[in-house]
Symmetry: C2
Amino acid sequence: MQHKEISKAVLKRLPGYLSYLRAIPEGSSPYISATSLANALGMGEVQVRKDLAMVSDGGRPKIGYLRESLIEDISQFLGYDNTTGAILVGAGKLGQALLGYSGFSTYGLDILAAFDAKPAENKVEEGRPVYTMDKMESFCRTNKVLMGIITVPAEYAQEVCDRMIRCGIKAIWNFAPTHLDVPANILVQNENMATSLAVLSMHLQAHIKDKK
Amino acid sequence: MQHKEISKAVLKRLPGYLSYLRAIPEGSSPYISATSLANALGMGEVQVRKDLAMVSDGGRPKIGYLRESLIEDISQFLGYDNTTGAILVGAGKLGQALLGYSGFSTYGLDILAAFDAKPAENKVEEGRPVYTMDKMESFCRTNKVLMGIITVPAEYAQEVCDRMIRCGIKAIWNFAPTHLDVPANILVQNENMATSLAVLSMHLQAHIKDKK
DNA sequence: TAGATTGTTAATCGATTAACAATC
DNA sequence: TAGATTGTTAATCGATTAACAATC
């Protein structure tokens, strides 16, 4: 399947389709229509169809899309097929939670090791080694690591980020609630809890106001 | 300050301004211009100015905005001033990480208690009590809880969600990687790790392709 | 054939950016 | 006054939705 240039908006919806498709039980029909997908996820059906058109080579009128191929197409498109090795810096509570989450393999992510300013000797968290920071560069070079996950407090995040970039990392998943300055070729994806909270908080304010 | 109707796009950028403004050291100038804010955060200055116009009652030409009032205006607009009590369901690793994160108070969020299918007797995690699920409804009613945080595995998320709604919860912060079906007046905010991973993964694929 | 569904082309909508006037 | 900055109005851009033709 030849890929078109894809917009970020579409890209962000694809994982939703994928997880829904994966959750459909084995015994069901091997086909699924954009209409039913749209209804299940509370979206417009035209949008779903357009999105799917970006990654699959089409469904069959009156029948729909072959579920299996759709899963394969989206997975492949998102690069979930070839596993990305990542390192994580900051082995606190959140870091450990991420290290321990087994679901990332489904998304082609493998956290190879963690680094921390002060790890206990020979520490292992959730089956992954935790090294001191000075081991980071050699580890990244040896394993050709391209992705870094930042779970340190905000005040250390930029420092860790700069260091990751010096180690050859090209994509950074930032859980620290702060803006990171990076060169143009590096991608920072903020897992921005503050943003989510803003949306939630706003909804509740509106709700409370309505009651008055 | 009289609020206009605000778009979600603007709303999501406000926390970024706020955290940057909060991080500016005490001794600095009490004024900040939209231009400098924009440069610091890598955004367009017109956009920053328009965003700020939504929440503040204006800056002074040639001088900029009074930092203190800007912080106050954004905080108030986002409802960070009056604390929201929330409950958390699923006291696993991720749940514990959230319970232990002290930064939420800055965002006006207070996680009052956690609930879990099988908590240890009289368990307390990170200073918050962890109760069995059957205590949930009475707790929510007594404390008039409007926000729920879901950190259970995907397969239980919908069930927990339905239960929260029966308890009077109006806004749900969902960390489970699954779509939740809710009535129209309930807001679900997905903390969607899969979405972030898709964006990161895509960037790396492009990067690898470039090198070939 | 009729109807459900796909996929495309055109219209609408919303958000961002550009141009410019106002102000200190 | 000149220049930096704000704030507004208009133009552009991109994404969503609507209308419709194609297909099995």
